[in-house]
């Protein structure tokens, strides 16, 4: 009893804020989709996410957990975006994924946790000159949005044979964002500054299905499917916006030609365009490839990824990145620390955004 409580407590303390890294490309859309990957997976560009029980992407992989375990991911990003005066560096710290899982029967494991579904944290400032009462009045606006949509998952993975594991999960999409819109006037004698603030609550549902198939000793295949309902935005109990959420699916392959090296690759599709034209949504395809080299106790990981982001006024922005990381088991395999670093570049015709992210993951198996 003490060990599970310790796991839950330590992970909850660490998981203060669940969100992914933000992006300017998500401001006009529903947000920036989160990467549902543990540090181990993300250090290899997400290629291992489908096979990693601590990445909230697939439920079937929970079947591989033979002991109560928990894992939390922390990420700090430095993001450079162009501005009139050159470039602005933005910083943000997030805890984008948390998974707790354990077996309840010999072949059945249950798991759950949180992951970022959409990050809606941003702040923008603009300057303008308005003609009010026949005079030109310079104004400066600041709109900040702090929050996002979190994917709360309860899932089960079951091994139905030596080679096949299947899984399913239900997802409650919930969260909120605090929005503050402020306008200040240069002529502060005649015009008072104005601030509007409110908190928007988000709600939605989803379900996911997945399977893992071992083809021989060295090859493993994964496939997953997920359908989400509508994302409802409520303000004071009144629905102010409703957007369809995408159907997503993907597949991955893992090849371990020897004891010291594992390769993986994945592809996934999201039909975000159902979210509606008002949010400039586009379907996306994302791929990744990565390798884990070294012993299970202290591997080195590397990977590359590419694809698109779903929201952009001038078509789907592209995203490409590379990442690397290290892992280390301790306490006889009861704990593991993973660290990683990721470099992403997102761009469209108008804007290029460059991101460095430092990753830290802790996994505990009491």
């Amino acid at each position: 009893m003490r060990a599970p409580a310790l796991v839950v407590l330590s992970l909850l303390v660490a998981g203060g804020r669940l969100a992914a890294q933000d992006s300017q490309f998500g401001i006009q859309g529903l947000g920036t989709p989160g990467k549902q990957e543990s540090v181990r997976s993300r250090s290899a560009a997400g290629a291992f996410a489908a096979f990693d029980a601590f990445s909230p992407l697939m439920d079937a992989s929970l079947a591989d957990i033979r002991r109560l375990s928990g894992s939390v991911t922390g990420a700090t990003s430095w993001r450079k975006v162009p501005a009139d005066s050159g470039e602005v560096t933005l910083r943000g710290t997030r805890f984008p994924a948390l998974v707790i899982a354990g077996p309840i029967l010999r072949r059945l494991s249950l798991g759950g946790g949180f992951a970022t579904y959409l990050d809606r944290s941003y702040g923008i400032t603009t300057q303008d000159t308005l003609v009010i009462r026949g005079d030109s009045v310079p104004v400066s606006d600041k709109i900040t949005n702090d929050g996002g949509v979190t994917d709360v998952r309860i899932a089960a993975g079951v091994r139905v044979g030596r080679a096949l594991a299947i899984g399913a999960g239900i997802h409650l999409l919930t969260g909120s964002s605090r929005i503050v819109a402020t306008r200040r006037f240069t002529d502060s004698t005649n015009y008072r500054p104005t601030t509007s603030r409110d908190e928007v609550a988000y709600q939605g549902m989803g379900a996911s299905f997945s399977a893992l198939l071992d083809v021989g000793r060295d090859l493993r295949l994964a496939g997953w499917y997920r359908a989400d309902s509508k994302l409802r935005a409520d303000l004071g109990g009144r629905t102010v916006a409703e957007n369809d959420l995408p159907v997503s699916y993907g597949s991955a392959v893992l090849w371990s030609p020897g004891n010291q090296v594992v390769f993986a690759g994945s592809a996934q599709w999201h039909n975000w365009s159902v979210a509606g034209p008002g949010v400039y949504a586009h379907d996306t395809f994302n791929w990744s490839f990565g390798a884990e080299i070294g012993s299970v106790g202290s591997p080195f990981r590397i990977g590359a990824r590419g694809g698109q982001l779903p929201f952009g006024a001038h078509g789907a922005p592209s995203e490409a990145g590379i990442s690397a990381g290290l892992g280390r088991q301790f306490a006889g395999g009861r704990g593991r620390i993973d660290i990683g670093i990721e470099r992403l570049q997102r761009k469209d015709d108008r804007l290029t955004e460059k991101v460095w992210t430092m990753l830290l993951g802790v996994t505990v198996r009491p």
Partner: protein, 432 residues
């Protein structure tokens, strides 16, 4: 390897947990800004002011802190005051109840010009003797004969101002400050605190007689003249420190003595006031503000639903159309202030002490008057929607002068008061 991972892990933990967030960047609009924007609306509400009224009688001439003295073609205004009684005999010691007579030697009268008119050339103050029977009900017509009588004393203030400043130690010791003086003994001291001009008249016993039948009471009227139209204001007793003061210099001979003793004593007015001609016209259907006794106008506002639904008011301006330009000279300019009515009881409504807005009214100008009342309207809309949405307009300084402003009321549809409001629409929260 273990040490490397441990060290990097600590660094990553420190960076991850210790990083301060910075998410605000200049917006590249419209492509990378939220679809929802802050929207301003600027509109004139022409029919939200109703049941507006004017009332007179708040502050009377003898209650004001200053009194206007003016000489202009369209108006005459003359301050006057009655000084407190002066004793005509004195008890020499506490042990001896015998009274001995007091003989006045001279006196010195101090007047304070709290609102000078520096543009008027050859500005003169003329002092007239008034009967001790004057009171606060005396009218311009009552006093006019005395102002056409002999002048008790006259000082050319413009000339006095041009005189050299005398600041030797003996003078400063006697007067408390550097002075300017003329050959007739008039003295000018300009206050270092508020630039008030203090004028001292030296009066002999013929100019200021100590008359036992009047109990030593003296009354004076003041007239201002210049080579052009002129308007100034004299401080009154209600201003605490700028009222007229007469210092009696007297002597008496104590009992059993042949040597006279000299002394002096100060006398302030029992009241001071002013009279003017022509009198303020009676109140009519327009909104009147100012004059003496002072008039105020009560403005009631029906906050329109469009404002109730808005999230914030950034500017609110009351528009008042004058019936006619205010009568007077440039130096007669005054303020109109708006004060929130805390409970609407009509003319006697209690008011918030803090002015909600003020505007300067210049005589001779016929433009629409714009009074900024943003904070008050904002409070009606946002802070307390149950508050009384009314305010009172009054003159500052009040009842100092004959000047008053008249504006069209809501009974004149074409020129009725209006509220010009710039407000922000409700921000489209929740919409991407």
């Amino acid at each position: 390897m273990r040490r490397l991972v441990g060290t990097l892990g600590l660094v990553a933990a420190a960076v991850t947990l210790g990083c301060e967030e910075q998410l605000i960047a200049p917006g590249d609009c419209p492509d990378f800004c939220p679809n929802g924007q802050i929207v301003l609306v600027d509109t004139v509400f022409t029919s939200v002011i109703e049941r507006d009224s004017a009332y007179r009688g708040y502050v009377k001439a003898y209650q004001s802190a200053a009194a206007t003295a003016t000489d202009q073609p369209a108006a005459q205004s003359r301050p006057y005051f009655k000084l407190d009684q002066m004793f005509t005999s004195i008890r020499v010691s506490a042990a001896d109840t015998t009274l001995v007579p007091v003989f006045a030697d001279s006196s010195r009268l101090r007047l304070a010009i709290v609102r000078p008119d520096t543009a008027a050339p050859n500005l003169r103050l003329q002092l007239y003797a008034l009967p001790s029977t004057v009171d606060t009900l005396s009218t311009y017509a009552d006093l006019d004969p005395y102002f056409n009588g002999p002048i008790v004393d006259s000082v050319n203030v413009s000339d006095l101002r041009s005189r050299p400043l005398i600041g030797d130690s003996a003078t400063v010791h006697a007067w408390g400050d550097s002075i300017r003086t003329d050959s007739a003994g008039h003295v000018l001291i300009i206050s270092r605190v508020d630039s008030t001009w203090f004028i001292y008249f030296s009066l002999d016993t013929l100019q200021a007689p100590l008359a036992a039948p009047d109990s030593g009471r003296l009354a004076f009227g003041v007239r201002v003249v210049a080579d052009t139209a002129v308007s100034i204001a004299l401080g009154t007793n209600e201003s605490v420190s700028n009222g007229p003061v007469l210092e009696w210099f007297y002597h008496y001979t104590p009992k059993d003595s042949v040597n006279a003793k000299s002394d002096s004593t100060l006398r302030a007015p029992v009241f001071d006031s002013f009279v003017f001609d022509p009198p303020n016209p009676a109140l009519d259907s327009n909104l009147t503000i100012g004059g003496t006794p002072s008039a105020r106008s009560l403005i009631r506002v029906t906050v329109p639903p469009a404002l109730r639904d808005s999230i914030d008011v950034v500017r609110a301006t009351l528009l008042l159309v004058p019936v006619a330009p205010v009568n007077g000279l440039v130096s007669d300019s005054f303020h109109i202030v708006a004060r929130q009515v805390t409970t609407d009881l009509g003319a006697k409504s209690p008011l918030n002490n803090e002015p909600a807005g003020n505007v300067v009214i210049h005589p001779g100008v016929a433009d629409t008057v714009r009074l900024e009342i943003t904070d008050m309207v904002r409070a009606w809309v946002i802070l307390d929607t149950l508050t009384t949405t009314a305010f009172m307009l009054s003159q500052v300084p009040e009842a100092n002068s004959f000047t008053e402003a008249r504006f069209y009321s809501s009974l004149t549809p074409a020129f009725r008061p209006a509220l010009h409001v710039t407000f922000v629409r409700r921000f489209p929260f929740g919409r991407p």
